[in-house]
């Protein structure tokens, strides 16, 4: 793998670790399978790109992208808590609507940020890191967001959010308004995803209306890999897992691409991601239900029983 491919993989990994943090809040903490993500990611990119090309300060443009993502999350949550639309459907509705909205926001299918000043530009000369500049800036942002999420989930509101996701009946009995928690949680979750989209557009130099496809699955892949590696019981480890999982995932994807493993090409990425998530979910469930399940099965498969020798 070339250095360029490696730095690219690390950048993508760090970007998707933000998505994974968002997905952690919705899927895990809140227990809300939110599919808004595939729409809020390109929305963050689109809003930021439009803001940047119209001359708005990149930092402010990034905040605008983040805020746009947050609004999308709020809409999904509102559809669910106000109109009692099934959580999956609420996310899908917002996601589908966002496709049109993103086209409207950009006015065309994509916007190039080539030559525009981005949030990374000031660091170009400053750090003298060459191709690693974006990765270092993204690392700082991802780590900051990890600790921000850790902190938030340890606050009074964060604790109420965790209780609401795990045991809504108990949460209510402790005066937690579950609907409010869904609104807060999805807003923050999609804010993180919008931030990821915004930074993605700025680091790749383009915002594209179709860039969102598969975002949720990649976020889930990162989340599950992280949980498998570091466990999910403690918030701090789970969020660290989001970073590690996303980095590892993108690293191995880049490795497979560069080595031509199984003839995998860039267009196969979503298929690979979907397969990885499906397998990971099956494996982790098997492990939870029957510890040693797979191992004993394999052992039984390979260790020929004594009595059957020569039979």
């Amino acid at each position: 793998m070339s250095m360029l491919a490696l730095s690219g993989a690390i950048e993508a990994g760090l970007l998707f670790s933000l998505v994974a943090l968002g997905v952690y809040i919705s899927f895990r903490v809140l227990n809300f399978p939110d599919l808004t993500v595939d729409g809020s990611f390109p929305l963050g990119a689109a809003a930021t790109a439009v803001a940047i090309v119209s001359g708005i300060n990149p930092l402010l443009a990034t905040l605008i992208g983040t805020g746009a993502g947050a609004c999308a999350g709020f809409v999904s949550a509102y559809l669910n808590v106000r109109f009692r639309i099934l959580n999956l459907l609420a996310g899908i509705l917002t996601m589908v609507a966002l496709y049109s909205i993103n086209l409207r926001v950009m006015g065309r299918p994509n916007i190039s940020l080539y030559g525009e000043e981005t949030i990374f530009t000031p660091f170009d000369g400053l750090l003298g890191l060459g191709i690693w500049t974006n990765a270092v800036v993204l690392l700082a942002i991802a780590v900051a967001m990890k600790f921000a999420v850790d902190w938030f989930l340890a606050t009074e509101i964060g604790l109420a959010l965790r209780a609401s996701g795990e045991n809504p009946v108990m949460a209510r009995a402790q005066s937690v308004d579950n609907d409010r928690m869904t609104l807060i949680g999805l807003t923050i979750s999609n804010g993180l995803v919008g931030l990821a989209g915004s930074l993605f557009a700025q680091s790749q130099g383009v915002a594209d209306v179709s860039m969102g496809i598969g975002t949720i699955v990649t976020g889930l892949a990162a989340l599950i890999i992280g949980e498998t590696l570091l466990g999910s019981l403690k918030v701090g480890w789970a969020t660290l897992g989001c970073l590690a999982g996303a980095l590892l995932y993108r690293f191995f994807i880049a490795l497979a691409l560069s080595a031509g493993f199984l003839g995998i090409q860039a267009q196969d990425l979503n298929l690979v991601t979907a397969v990885v998530v499906a397998v990971a979910v099956v494996l982790s469930r098997a492990r939870r239900k029957h510890p040693l399940h797979l191992r004993t099965r394999l052992q039984r498969l390979f260790a020929r029983p004594q009595g059957q020798k020569g039979a």
């Binding site: 340890a154 604790l159 795990e166 108990m170 209510r172 009995a173």
Partner: protein
């Protein structure tokens, strides 16, 4: 302190499977009064308690707590006035949160939750430990343990502490010892009496044991088919024993108590 007036609840109304669970319940609890509730399965005991807590809405009638008409309040709003322990130890606590985090959640009940760290330090933590030590379950040394790792008895003791941590008006206990082994059940029951006595809490406790219903609190009501059938208190109650309750049930309903669970103990 607590008034339930002419309460009606029907589940699945207007369908072939409609169940009239409460059919005109009137009940008044004086401040500090500890009332035990018994009745056969399906009598409406849990529905009554859920109606007080807010999880079940009344079709007719009203519920008043400490002068507030709470009939239309959602559960989370009533929670500032009402503490509750569920039958299932897992229902009243959060498995993935630690003992201390569960308590912190209870400590902010009824107030406005903010963006500040939920866990206190120093004095606040020492106070929590003191509370936990009183439960006699060794939980004071396990502040950081995830509640999922605790025994049913420990979880129920924690639920009880969480329900009563802050000053409130009404305590609701729905067969909160039914899922425990006899030893743990006795401990939790003793703790409940101790805490309610100390804080002079107005309490509604459902139990499946006639013995317990007479041994705890100062007033016993028996429910049947969505109504309050018997209401025994004061000197009258002192003379009562389990057979008297059974006989009274038979006399009023014309049927013997068939519910095995109820006769036990």
């Amino acid at each position: 302190m607590l008034s339930i007036c002419d309460a009606y609840v029907t589940f699945n109304p207007g369908t072939p499977i409609a169940v009239p669970a409460l059919r005109g319940v009137d009940l008044d609890l004086a401040p500090g009064e500890f009332v035990t509730v018994i009745g056969t399965n399906g009598a409406g005991k849990s529905t009554l308690l859920s109606a007080v807590a807010g999880d079940v809405r009344l079709d007719r009638g009203g519920i008043y707590v400490d002068g507030h008409d709470v009939t239309r309040w959602p559960t989370e709003r009533r929670a500032s006035l009402i503490g509750r322990v569920f039958q299932e130890p897992r229902a009243g606590t959060c498995s993935s949160l630690t003992v201390e985090e569960n308590l912190a959640l209870a400590a902010s009940r009824g107030g406005r939750r903010r963006l500040r760290l939920a866990l206190g330090r120093g004095a606040e933590r020492a106070r929590l430990k003191e509370h936990l030590a009183r439960l006699g379950m060794g939980l004071e040394d396990r502040l950081g343990a995830h509640v999922g790792t605790l025994s049913g008895g420990q979880r129920q003791a924690l639920s009880l502490l969480m329900a009563t941590l802050l000053p409130m008006k009404i305590l609701i206990l729905d067969e909160h010892t039914a899922a425990l082994d006899p030893g743990a059940a006795a401990t939790i029951l003793a703790l409940s009496s101790e805490i309610t006595g100390e804080q002079r809490l107005t309490t509604l406790m459902v139990t499946h044991s006639m013995r317990n219903s007479l041994d705890h609190g100062e007033r016993t009501i028996m429910m049947n088919a969505g109504r309050v059938l018997l209401d025994i208190r004061g000197d009258e109650r002192k003379g009562y024993d389990v057979p008297d309750l059974l006989a009274l049930f038979k006399k009023t309903t014309g049927k013997a108590v068939e519910d095995d669970q109820l006769v036990l103990a």
